[in-house]
């Protein structure tokens, strides 16, 4: 599904990613773990097409296309979804409006007609139930005044609605209490299928108890220094980053 080869990237003059190789196939769940500042969010934003980062080397192929040539909105329409580590607030714009606009943008890109209001309400109610969110969140401004946990759940609500091909979850677990974490994990698991893939970015083993990855990668100082199966996360938990990075 996605092949990242020798990816190097900088913000301004400062190099952050220093040669990343990563292949994710349909149906897989990958986890990237790594200390603060190792470049995890940078990688996720580059995949999503954030214009602040400059790709200085390497390539990314996604479903046979050169991903780096596509602007962010088209990447999203092609099924790339990023659940942000820090979801931004958009005062004045209601959540339901954004959700509908996002869904319709994707439908247009697929040559489908805009969804009618009734079908949309049916659909969104089902998705709300999946993440156990109250309907009142639909009518509040996007993330405005949401608690940390509510913001994260709102990201998963959007993911559930947009049914991405490749979902990147950037520290979706941080700021969630254990109950919320279970709900989010259940939601993500139920969205996972053999046709899509998930890239989990996390700091802690905790989330991986609920969403079991096929592959775990450890990112340090802009490079993947070690890859393995789910047991690598457990090893990391006992040894700490220092023990693994050396």
């Amino acid at each position: 599904m996605i092949e990242i080869r020798g990816l190097e990237a900088a913000i301004g003059e400062k190099p952050i990613l220093k040669g990343i190789d990563l292949t994710i196939k349909a149906g897989e769940i990958h986890a990237i773990m790594g200390p603060n500042g190792s470049g995890k969010s940078t990688l996720s934003k580059i995949l999503a097409g954030h214009p602040d980062y400059t790709v200085t080397g390497g390539s990314i192929r996604y479903q046979g296309i050169d991903l780096l040539t596509l602007p962010a909105d088209q990447r999203a329409q092609q099924g790339i979804f990023l659940a942000f580590q820090y979801p931004v607030e958009i005062p004045g714009v209601s959540n339901i409006y954004l959700l509908k606009a996002a869904l319709n943008a994707k439908r247009r890109a697929q040559g489908l007609a805009e969804i009618d209001a009734f079908d949309f309400m049916q659909l969104i109610k089902a998705k709300l139930a999946l993440v156990q969110m109250d309907e009142k969140f639909l009518h509040r401004a996007v993330n405005a005044g949401f608690s940390g946990g509510e913001k994260k759940r709102n990201e998963i609500l959007q993911m559930a609605l947009l049914e991405p091909t490749l979902a990147i979850l950037d520290e979706t677990d941080s700021g969630l209490d254990i109950d919320a974490l279970k709900i989010v994990a259940q939601g993500v698991n139920s969205l996972h299928s053999k046709d899509n893939a998930i890239l989990l970015i996390t700091h802690y083993q905790r989330l991986l108890d609920y969403i079991i990855p096929d592959h775990v990668h450890i990112l340090s100082n802009g490079k993947i220094i070690r890859s393995g199966d789910a047991s690598l996360a457990t090893l990391l938990e006992t040894k700490g980053y220092a023990g693994i990075i050396q």
């Binding site: 602040d52 909105d73 999203a76 714009v93 401004a141």
Partner: protein
């Protein structure tokens, strides 16, 4: 960062849509202003003597006045002798009996602007008066309104057919002495719209005037007078556009509203005069005096404006709350891009008892634009229990634009309750990226955020126009976010 700025800038640099010129033969005076010009205008319009005398008084007063300089706007001196004060599309006959007699080229102009006068005539919904340069070219639905006793016609027709109403109300809210531009307008205005809603009548459709400046070097000086008699209701909308020209053109209009006891007037404006190009060349100087008088008890006047056009906007739609329990409202969105300047706001004069006013102002600036809210809430001595709520929000798109707020409050009665809230925010790159990551393109994302910011005001507009206004806000910003 640079990527984003260019992306945003391309978006904000889109061209003005209504910039075409209609070629029509016109009947115009030579540029310049003196008493003879005024006499000529008055004679061309076959006006009764009281009108000519009023114009002359206004002119004689105007020559003693100087242009106001207190607004937060800058422009080179206007040469009032280089302006053409009368320009009318040539018509074959003196008076038009139906739309069929209107020059087809003119009708096409309105079609191009998305206002089909023929359509409007056929479909129920909105009655339109179209003012082209200095004269009114067509008023639709006249007959249907007449059945209810409603008068909706060009100002010129009203002077001919209802001189008693004109005599009674003209200048009664905005006297010619009021200010420099009001005096100029009184002296030279050539047409505009007139509305009278009789006692107890609820006007069954939106009334709408569409103003279009076409000819070069022409000033547009129109005058609107709306009288809502006891217990009546009317909702009125004006829209405006002009061709793209390198020279600045002056638009100095006057609008007077009178609401008698228990009457309500809702006046909405979607102003999209040519704003000038992205370097600040050309554009309309929109210097307008709008004021309503809530003369009767329990009367209500509500101004809603969406100001996206003009190089410079200088206007303060105001309400004189004379009647007890009267209500004044002002809902405004002023959007400035590139080198546009806007100094706009309102004045609420609380005179009667238990009067109430609400002011919601949303200023949006992009490019190098400057946007100022200037408002006055004045509570007079006898205005027992006056209440005002003011909210002024500014949204900045980019680092080079400015937002300014000048709220003035004068309270002479201790029972008054005045509340004021203000905020300034920016559209951030992260907000845009968030939307884009959800598949929404930059243009739609900016319009979505801007429209969200303006929602409180947009929802005051009649449905049909709300949609148009939302589109317009998106378009006016195309080519500009940062």
């Amino acid at each position: 960062m640079d990527n984003r700025n260019t992306q945003i800038n391309q978006f904000l640099n889109k061209e003005y849509e209504h910039g075409f010129v209609t070629s029509l033969e016109s009947d115009a005076l030579a540029p310049g202003l003196n008493e003879d010009v005024i006499r000529t205008i008055s004679a061309k319009k076959n006006e009764p003597d009281f009108m000519l005398q009023w114009r002359l008084k206004a002119y004689r007063h105007w020559v003693t006045m100087t242009e106001p300089a207190w607004a937060h706007v800058h422009y080179p001196p206007i040469s009032y002798q280089d302006i053409v004060y009368y320009s009318a599309p040539k018509q074959k006959k003196e008076a038009l009996k139906s739309l069929d007699e209107v020059d087809p080229e003119l009708l096409r102009t309105y079609e191009k602007l998305g206002i089909s006068l023929k359509e409007q005539e056929r479909l129920a919904g909105v009655a339109v008066d179209a003012v082209f340069d200095s004269v009114s070219v067509a008023t639709t639905f006249k007959e249907k309104l007449k059945e209810k006793g409603i008068i909706f016609c060009s100002f010129s027709d009203a002077v001919q057919n209802h001189p008693e109403l004109i005599k009674q109300y003209l200048g009664s809210v905005v006297p010619y002495r009021d200010n420099f531009f009001a005096a100029l307008n009184a002296a030279v205005f050539t047409d505009g719209s007139f509305v009278y809603i009789p006692k107890g009548v609820r006007c069954p459709m939106e009334l709408s005037t569409y103003f279009r400046i076409n000819a070069a070097n022409t000033g547009q000086f129109e005058r609107t007078l709306i009288i809502a008699d006891v217990g009546s209701y009317v909702s009125y909308l004006e829209g405006c556009t002009a061709p793209m020209r390198d020279e600045n053109q002056l638009h100095a209009a006057v609008v007077e509203l009178i609401a008698l006891e228990k009457a309500e007037i809702k006046y909405s404006t979607v102003q999209n005069w040519y704003p000038g190009d992205k370097d600040g060349k050309g554009g309309i100087y929109n210097f307008v005096t709008k004021r309503g008088a809530c003369r009767g008890d329990h009367s209500k006047i509500s101004w809603t404006q969406i100001e996206t056009g003009s190089a410079i906007t200088w206007k303060y739609p105001s309400v004189l709350l004379q009647g007890d329990n009267s209500i004044g409202e002002f809902y405004s969105v002023a959007l400035t891009n590139h080198h546009q300047q806007a100094d706009t706001g309102t004045k609420m004069y609380h005179i009667g008892k238990n009067t109430k006013s609400t002011i919601i102002s949303k200023g949006i600036s992009a490019g190098q634009a400057q946007n100022a809210y200037r408002g006055l809430v004045s509570v007079l001595k006898g205005a027992q229990n006056a209440r005002n709520y003011t909210q002024c929000d500014s949204l900045l798109l980019g680092p080079d634009c400015g937002a300014h707020t000048f709220p003035y409050i004068e309270v002479k009665n201790p029972t008054a309750q005045i509340e004021h809230e203000a905020s300034t925010s920016k559209i951030s790159e992260e907000q845009l990226f968030y939307c884009q990551q959800r598949g929404i393109n930059t243009e739609d994302a900016v319009s979505m955020i801007v429209n969200g910011f303006c929602k409180q005001v947009i929802k005051q507009l009649p449905m049909e126009f709300a949609v148009e206004a939302q589109k317009l806000l998106g378009l006016s910003l195309e080519g500009s976010v940062g």
